[in-house]
Symmetry: C3
C-alpha cells in the first residue's frame, strides 16, 4: 500500500488549508498542562479521529512525579485607575502566566511590576510563561504596553482556580495486522502558540485521518498529551503498551518555513532514525539530522534509560532557535498551509518506509534472471527509466534475506519509493518472495 | 617470489609493444557472443598460454537463461543502384549489427532507413550495436555516410547464419600449491573494439604468461568468455570450481589513457578489494575506488546473491564514461602500449599481494629484538633506508598472528612490497615464523 | 577526589618555577644508560619522592638483549700544541660521545678529525652522540670550534671507564585501593639535554609528589629508566607487575613551546588513548593525536606484541621535529616554567579522568526524575549554568551501567570535569549508584 499516493491523490493546497483551518480553530483555546482547555482541544480532535480520553487524578504518583492540581481560568485583567483594561486575558491568553494562582487586588505600579514580564528586544511581542511547580501569579505583556503604564494604582484580577482535579490526555489507537506499535506523540499543553505546537497537533491528527482507513502492518498510537508530565503519566500507566513500541516520532514545530530537522533517538541507529534520515534526504531540498540529546520534547521521557525507546523528533525549525519561539509572534501567520502540508507529506513518507520495509529473497539468486523475456525492462512510470531498471537490479542483487528494502535504498542511493516499486514489480514477476517472519508484510493480502 | 620483479626484468616498452601487437592481431576478427570469431580468438590466445575450450550447445539451460543460437557471418554490404558498395562489412565488422539475421533484398532508401544506425554527434564514427535476444537485422554506419545516401533502390545483403550450434569459451587453469583459486575473467564477445575489450584479453593473456612458470600459492583460472551469457554458462557448469574462488578480478578497458578505477566486490571489504585499493594507492599517480553496483561487466554474475564471490573489476576509464565507448573510435589508436603495460603491472602487483599476504608470528615478541647485532639495520635496497627500517619495526610489532602483511602495509602506510621485503629479511634472520595454516606460503620451499 | 583542584590550589607560576629549578639541578649531571650520572640523578629525585633503585649487573640477559658494561667518565679534553684546552668536557658533557672508550694520545689533526662531530647547519651548536653498542671514542663540538683548529698535533684525553658494573633504574610505587596499576615512564639516560628529557623527569616527579598524599583508585608506578635497555630490563624482571598495568604514559619533551601531541598506544582505542585525547581536546588550545607507530620512546617496548600494554606517549613537540633536538640548543632556556607547569596540568587531568571514570546506574531510570523538587537546577559553580544542567541530564540519561563517565563526556561534548561534577551531585541526591565492580571508586569512602 502506497500511503504517499493516497496523500498525493488529494489536492495538496486543500490539504494545507485544512491543516491551517484546524490550527485556527484550536488557536484561541487556553490550554495548559491540565484543565478544560485541554479537554476542549481533545474534543475538537475527536471530531476528526477516534480518540480516547484519560483523566488522571491530581496526586497520582507517576514514577518520580505527582500529578499536579488542575488549573482553570475564566478571566484576567489589569485595570488602570480610570477603569481601562490595560491588559486583558480576552485579547490573548498569553497575557496570563500559565498556572497563575487567583488574585484580585489593587496595588501601585511599583508593587505590580515584579509580576509583569516583557521582551524588551521585541517590544511588540508578548512572551509565553509558565509557573507549573511554583505557586505564583503574573502577567505577560508587550514591552510597548509596559512603557506607557503610568504610576498609580491598578486593579489586578486573575479569576483562576488551582484545585484537585485531573490531568487529561488523548489517545488514538489504530489497530494494524501486528500488535507492534508505532508511536506518534505531540504535546497539547501550549495556549495560543501556533508552531509550538498546534502544528504538531494538526499534522498528527491529519496523519491519523490518513492512516485510519488503511490496512496497516503496524498498529499506530497517537498521543495528544501535556508535555513532560503527560508523557510521564502515559508511560507510568502503559508499561505493556510501551514495550510494543517499535518506532516512534515526536512531532513539533512543523508549520514554520525552516528546513526540516530530525533528532535521532537515543539509540542513534534505530530503524526510525534511518527511515527519517532517508526520507528527509530524498524528500526535501535541505535538511539536518541531529544527534540525540537529553533535552527537547517528550523524546526525553521515551528515551530515558529505563525505556530507551526508538523514538525521534521531527521538526522544521528547532525550538529555541527562532525568535518567535514562546512569544505571541508564534501565531497563525507564522505557520503556513504549504508548510504544514509538506510536513504531513514527510511524516507520511516516513510511515510509508516503516510499513513497507520488508526483507525479500531473490528466487533466482544464481546469476541475474533474464529480465528481457519477462518484460522487466519496461517502465512503470514511478521514476526515470534508468533509475527504475537500476532499482530492479539492486533489489535482485541484495535480496538475500539479509537486506531490508531500506538497506537497499540506502546502499543504492535511490529513493525508497523507487526501490519499493521495483520490489513490487519483481515480486509480481515471481522473482522475489518475502522472507519468513514477514508474512504480515504481504501487501497482496491487503485490501487496496 | 616477487612477481613484480619478474615483470620488471623485462623491458617495459617491449612488454607494451607485445600487448599492443597481440591486440592488433585480434582486432579484425568479428567476434560475437557465439560463433567462429570467438573460436578464432581463442585459438590465437592458445598460441600463448594453455587454454581449454568448452562448447555449450544451443538450447542448454543455464540457470534462468538458455544458450542462444550460434551466429556466423561471411559477408554484408549495401549497394547503391550503380552497384557501388556504400557500406561494406569488409571495411569493418562494426557495420553489421551483431546477431543480424540473413537478408538479401533490394529496397528503397525509405524502407532501408529504419535498419540504419548512426551517431549524429560524432558524424565520423560508426556505432556498435547488437540484437542478441530479438531477431532483427541492421547496419551501423557513420552519420556522414548516411547523409550522402541518395534516394533510390539499394541492394542489401547480410550473408549470416543464426542456427543451432554452440557457445564457446576458453579457460586457462594454472595449478598452484592450493586448490583455492583466483579468478581472472574478461569478456571476448566484442568485435573490432580495442579498449572494450581487447585490452582486457591481452592483459589477461600476458598475466597468465607471467604466472605460468611460477610456483604459485593459489591456483589461477583465466576465463575468456562472452559477456553475461558466458559468465552464466561457466557458473552454471562449474559450481564446485566457483566455491573455490577466493579472489577475483574482471578485466576490461585497460588500454586507454584514463586513470585507474577499481570497482569493489559486493562484499566491499574482501581481500581483493583491499589489495587492489592498496596497489592503486601506491602504484599509480591517481586512481579511484568505486563502490559495488549491480551493473557493469561480469562481476554482476559473480556477485549475484547466490554466489556473492569476492570479485571486483579493474578498469582505466569506466565503460560508458568516454565518448569512444561502443564506437569505431575505440580502435587500436585509442589503446597505447605504455598504458597496456602499466595495466599489466597493476594486475601483477595485485596478484603479488594475494600471493604474499601471509600472517607471521614474531619469535621475540617481548620487547624489540636487538636488530643491531643481527645486522638488521642494513639496507637491502628495496626502498629508502629509513623506510626499510620502519617496515621491519612495523612487521615485528604487528606480527602477532592476527595481522596479515597487507594489514601491516595498510596500518603503516608503507607499500606492500616494502613490508614483504622486510618480512623476508626478518624471517631469514629467524625473527619471524609463518602462522599455522599458512604453510603453503613458505616461499623458501618454492623454486626460484 | 579532584586532583586538578589540588593542583590549582597552588600558584601555577610557583609550580612552573619549581619544575624548572629541579631541571636546572639535574642539568649538569653527565647521564648515560649506565653509570654514576644515573645514580646521582636518582638520588636527587629521591629527595622529592619515595624511590627504590635497582642495579642490574652487566651481562644479565634481558629478553633478546644483554645488560652492557657500565660507563663512567671523569674528564676529557683536546689540547692544542700550545697546551690550550680547545675542547673541554668540563664545559659541557655533550663534548664527549656517550660510551666513549678511554683514550690518551697525541695525534695530528688529520688523524683526530674522524673522531670529531659537528653540525655545519647550526655552527654554534654541539651535537649529542652515543656509541652504546660499538666500542669507539669521539668528541662533539660546534662547527665554529672545528673551523679554527689549525693543523698540528693535539693531545686527546678521555678519562673514562667501560667495565663490568650495573645498569641502574629508579622506581616510585604509590599503592592505591586496587593493585591495578597506572605506569608513568620516562627515560633518564640523556646528559645535558633539557627538553629531552629533563622535562619528562621533572613532570613525572612532580606528578608523583601530587599523587603521593592522595587516596587513589589505582596504584601508580613511576619508572625513571635508561631508554630502551632500561625499559627492556624492567619488563624482563617484572612480568607480574606488567600484567597489572591498566593504563600508561611515557613522558618526554614536555618543556618546549610546541602544542601537545599524544601518540596512541598500539591498541589505539585504550581508555588511556581516549582519556588523553579528551583532555587535550578540552584543556589545550590546539593539540594533535598521533597514531601508534613502532618508533619513538619506550612505548616501543611496552607496546611490543608480547606485552601490548595500553601505554601512550605524551609530548609537546615530537622528537626529531625541532632543530634543537639532540643538540646543545636543547638547554634550560629551551624549556620554560609555564610550559612545564601546563604539561603537569595535562598529566594530572589525564590521571583525574582515569581515577574518576566510573559507571553509574540511574536509580530513577523510568522517565526523568523531577530535578526541581530536589533543587538540582541549582548551580554549583563548576561550569556555566546551562552546561551544568545539561551535564546532569546527560549523566542521568546515559547512566545505564553501560556508559562510563568518559563515554558520557565524549557523547555530550562536555568536559570530563563537568560530567564528573554532575555525577557527584546526582549521587549525593540519591539519583545514581555505582555499578557493581566499581566499589573501589566510591569516593565517599576516600579521605579528603
Amino acid at each position: 500500500m502506497d500511503l504517499l499516493k493516497a496523500l498525493e491523490n488529494r489536492e495538496l493546497t486543500q490539504v494545507g488549508d485544512d491543516l491551517h483551518r484546524f490550527a485556527a480553530d484550536l488557536y484561541p483555546i487556553c490550554r495548559s498542562i491540565t484543565g478544560d482547555g485541554v479537554r476542549r482541544t481533545l474534543s475538537e480532535i475527536r471530531k476528526l479521529i477516534p480518540l480516547q480520553t484519560t483523566e488522571v487524578p491530581t496526586g497520582t504518583r507517576i514514577f518520580d512525579w505527582t500529578v499536579p492540581k488542575e488549573w482553570n481560568i475564566r478571566e484576567a485583567y489589569i485595570k488602570d485607575s480610570a477603569g481601562n483594561r490595560v491588559v486583558d486575558f480576552q485579547q490573548t491568553n498569553l497575557h496570563v502566566i500559565s498556572y497563575s494562582t487567583p488574585v484580585h487586588a489593587t496595588m501601585p505600579l511599583s508593587e505590580l511590576k515584579p509580576h509583569l514580564f516583557t521582551l524588551p528586544d521585541h517590544p511588540n511581542w508578548i512572551p509565553y510563561r509558565t509557573s507549573y511547580y511554583e505557586e505564583n501569579w503574573g502577567f505577560c505583556l508587550s514591552h510597548d504596553q509596559l512603557l506607557v503604564l503610568e504610576d498609580g494604582d491598578y486593579e489586578v484580577c486573575i479569576d483562576s482556580t488551582l484545585e484537585d482535579g485531573h490531568l487529561t490526555y488523548g489517545e488514538c489507537y489504530l489497530p494494524g495486522q501486528s500488535t507492534d506499535e508505532v508511536l506518534i506523540s505531540c504535546h497539547s499543553c501550549h495556549p495560543s502558540l501556533a508552531n509550538d505546537n498546534l502544528s504538531g497537533i494538526t499534522v498528527a491528527t491529519a496523519l491519523a485521518q490518513l492512516l485510519a482507513p488503511s490496512d496497516l502492518r503496524y498498529s499506530y498510537r497517537f498521543l495528544f498529551i501535556p508535555g513532560t508530565i503527560g508523557a510521564i503519566a502515559w508511560l507510568a500507566r502503559n508499561a505493556d503498551e510501551a514495550k510494543r513500541i517499535r518506532h516512534g516520532l515526536v512531532l513539533t514545530c512543523l508549520g514554520d518555513r525552516g528546513e526540516f530537522h530530525y533528532k535521532k533517538s537515543r539509540r542513534g541507529d534505530a530503524e526510525i532514525d534511518r527511515a527519517a534520515a532517508h526520507v528527509l534526504h530524498h524528500c526535501s531540498k535541505s535538511s539536518e539530522i541531529l544527534e540525540f540529546s537529553p533535552y527537547g520534547y517528550d523524546e526525553r521521557q521515551y528515551c530515558s534509560p529505563g525505556f530507551n525507546l526508538p523514538v525521534g523528533c521531527l521538526m522544521r525549525s528547532v525550538w529555541g532557535s527562532f525568535p518567535e519561539y514562546h512569544t505571541s509572534a508564534d501565531d497563525l501567520n507564522f505557520i503556513q498551509p504549504g508548510q504544514l502540508a509538506e510536513s504531513l507529506r514527510v511524516c507520511t513518507a516516513v510511515v510509508d518506509v516503516l510499513e513497507n520495509n520488508c526483507h525479500y529473497c531473490n528466487q533466482n539468486p544464481y546469476c541475474e534472471p533474464q529480465l528481457g523475456r519477462r518484460n522487466l525492462y519496461r517502465s512503470i512510470g514511478g521514476a526515470a527509466v534508468p533509475e527504475e531498471i537500476s532499482a530492479r537490479l539492486w533489489v535482485l542483487n541484495l535480496s538475500d534475506g539479509q537486506h531490508s528494502l531500506l538497506d537497499i535504498a540506502e546502499r543504492s542511493g535511490l529513493p525508497f519509493g523507487t526501490i519499493r516499486d521495483a520490489a513490487d514489480l519483481l515480486r509480481e514477476g515471481g522473482l522475489l518472495s518475502l522472507t519468513a517472519g514477514f508474512e504480515l508484510l504481504d501487501r497482496n493480502q491487503i485490501r487496496p
